[in-house]
């Protein structure tokens, strides 16, 4: 045993302080369990430091400046200039405030905090290597462990993030200046959020996507609304092309792509952002010593209580097989794991996992699409309300998109919703609750919705599905 390696014990050890881990730790402590949280980098994990939060801060500023500069129609004349260093300070200040808050909340709830990298010794102990050289390590013995080590960005051959011209999403969020020309590899949600942001900040953005549309996990009429708007924003999108490499040019770089048929294309840029996905971090903590075996892609299989094959070891968040890699899923899984350890009658049984994309306009979805409902054996009743017919949408100047609700024809139970349009990320909350509660179309239609709001469109979509909409023609 090296100097400083004293074994201490804890009822619950949580590894990783992202939105999965810190929430799990706080809830475990709230349940009266002696809880220790170990983090090697920064409280709040990917989400608060390099993901959700900094991206949304940049999106807000870019969007406000862009909107104000393009609102002649509503009488506004302005030529906004964005000072990137001020914007970065603002964004960093928010991150600091939130990560500081996480630390405080952990302490206030009685969570023991340890900085360092955890590696399993066996199925009841980890060794934690502290930060820098010679800072030693310690052993923690645990009764229960919750692994919440999150994910890392996927690197593709030929695009090494070590090069300053090659950006990961994290690099993009820390950008000191706006590149004149930016190539974005990958038209998924992170790629599209950042493309939109940099386009609004003034970059010429080219998106290269292997599949035949952006946002391939969404229905094509949903993705279409975002694609059309991206075109208006001047984003140049190329489908069916994979990035094959890049080389330095006089003044910048040339990114090369290849189609399936071997046709090559070249795009000039200052930076290339590679956003093709994320993979779970399960290969750096000697997890095999604990007897837990990730699948070939690195994900960990869990049961309804987020237990791994080793009963007292739980896994949550981005490392979990089958649930989407989203912060709020990580947090919910953290709550389930913590409460299950405490003996509460809990399970991860959410009927409705909402997801949002903060593009322009936003996307918010929850539950089943029409197709999924059919596959599950329902006869779907579908209702829509275009924002074009919403008084509130008109008065905000944002009228693209629609609310769609999918329900079961026979029972009326709401099964899912797809929203693309202004505040879609917020509007989806009501429908998530509706699904969890077992609400029927009638319930949403009979609930008074404030006028004039975008949320009225949710009510209208429900009425449309019932064939009794007031503000749209019924199908």
């Amino acid at each position: 045993m090296v100097v400083g390696d004293i074994a201490t014990g804890t009822e619950v050890l949580v590894i990783g302080a992202g939105p999965g881990g810190y929430v799990a730790a706080i809830r475990a402590a709230q349940q009266g369990l002696d809880t220790t949280l170990v983090e090697k980098d920064a409280y709040g994990g990917t989400c608060l430091n390099y993901g959700c939060i900094p991206s949304k801060a940049l999106i807000t500023s870019a969007d406000l400046a862009h909107q104000a500069g393009h609102a002649e129609e509503m009488g506004i004349h302005a030529d906004p200039v964005v000072d990137m260093s001020q914007l970065r300070d603002w964004k960093d200040g928010i991150v600091d405030q939130l990560t500081g808050g996480v630390e405080k909340l952990c302490k206030a709830n009685g969570v023991n905090l340890i900085e360092g990298t955890a590696r399993f010794k066996d199925e009841n102990a980890v060794r934690i290597a502290h930060g820098g050289e010679g800072q030693g390590s310690e052993t923690i013995e645990f009764e229960h462990c919750i692994i919440a080590t999150g994910s890392r960005v996927i690197q593709i051959p030929g695009f090494d993030f070590a090069n300053e011209q090659v950006w990961s999403s994290r690099d993009a969020l820390a950008a000191e200046t706006v590149p004149d020309d930016l190539v974005v590899v990958g038209g998924g949600y992170i790629g599209m959020e950042l493309s939109t942001t940099f386009a609004k900040l003034g970059a010429n953005v080219t998106v290269v996507e292997m599949l035949d549309d952006i946002l391939p996990t969404y229905e094509s009429d949903v993705a279409r609304v975002v694609r059309k708007r991206a075109e208006v924003l001047g984003i140049d999108m190329h489908f069916g092309e994979g990035a094959s490499g890049w080389r330095e040019e006089d003044d910048g770089i040339m990114v090369t792509t290849e189609t399936e048929d071997g046709e090559e294309n070249e795009y000039y840029a200052d930076k290339v952002l590679v956003a093709v996905g994320r993979s779970p971090v399960t290969d750096t903590m000697e997890i095999e010593n604990a007897g837990v075996e990730p699948d070939e892609r690195g994900f960990i299989e869990v049961d309804d209580f987020r237990r791994t094959e080793v009963d007292h070891i739980y896994a949550i968040g981005d490392i979990v097989e089958d649930t989407p890699m989203l912060a709020h899923v990580a947090s919910q899984e953290g709550i389930v794991a913590a409460e299950h350890i405490a003996g509460e009658p809990v399970a991860f049984d959410s009927q409705a996992v909402p997801a949002a994309v903060f593009t322009d306009p936003e996307i918010g979805t929850v539950g089943m699409t029409e197709e999924e409902a059919e596959e599950a054996g329902f006869t779907p009743a579908v209702g829509e309300m275009p924002f074009q017919a919403s008084g509130r949408a008109l008065t905000t100047g944002h009228t693209e998109g629609f609310v769609r609700i999918v329900a079961d024809e026979d029972s009326g139970f709401i099964l899912g919703a797809q929203i693309v349009g202004p505040e879609a990320s917020e509007l989806v909350a009501e429908l998530a609750l509706a699904i969890e509660m077992g609400a029927r179309l009638e319930d949403v239609a009979a609930t008074i919705h404030t006028h004039p709001t975008l949320a009225e469109a949710v009510m209208e979509a429900a009425e449309n599905a019932l064939g009794q909409a007031i503000h749209t023609l019924n199908r």
Partner: protein, 74 residues
Amino acid sequence: AESGGRVFASPSVRRLARELDVDLASVDGSGPSGRVTEGDVRSAAEAAEAAEEAESSRPRNVEINGESATEKRD
């Protein structure tokens, strides 16, 4: 209580079902369109308990004076 292989009940009712060890899928929901309510879960739990009690207090099928005793039923 199932529609398309799914039970419709609120999160608090689902939690209660776990707490009382009631299998939601086997409960007949009395709510709109068969939604399972708190009352349905509690009745199901009571019924299960009663059945269990009946089970444990049921007289064995013993021979008393050469005659088979009848089952006790409520």
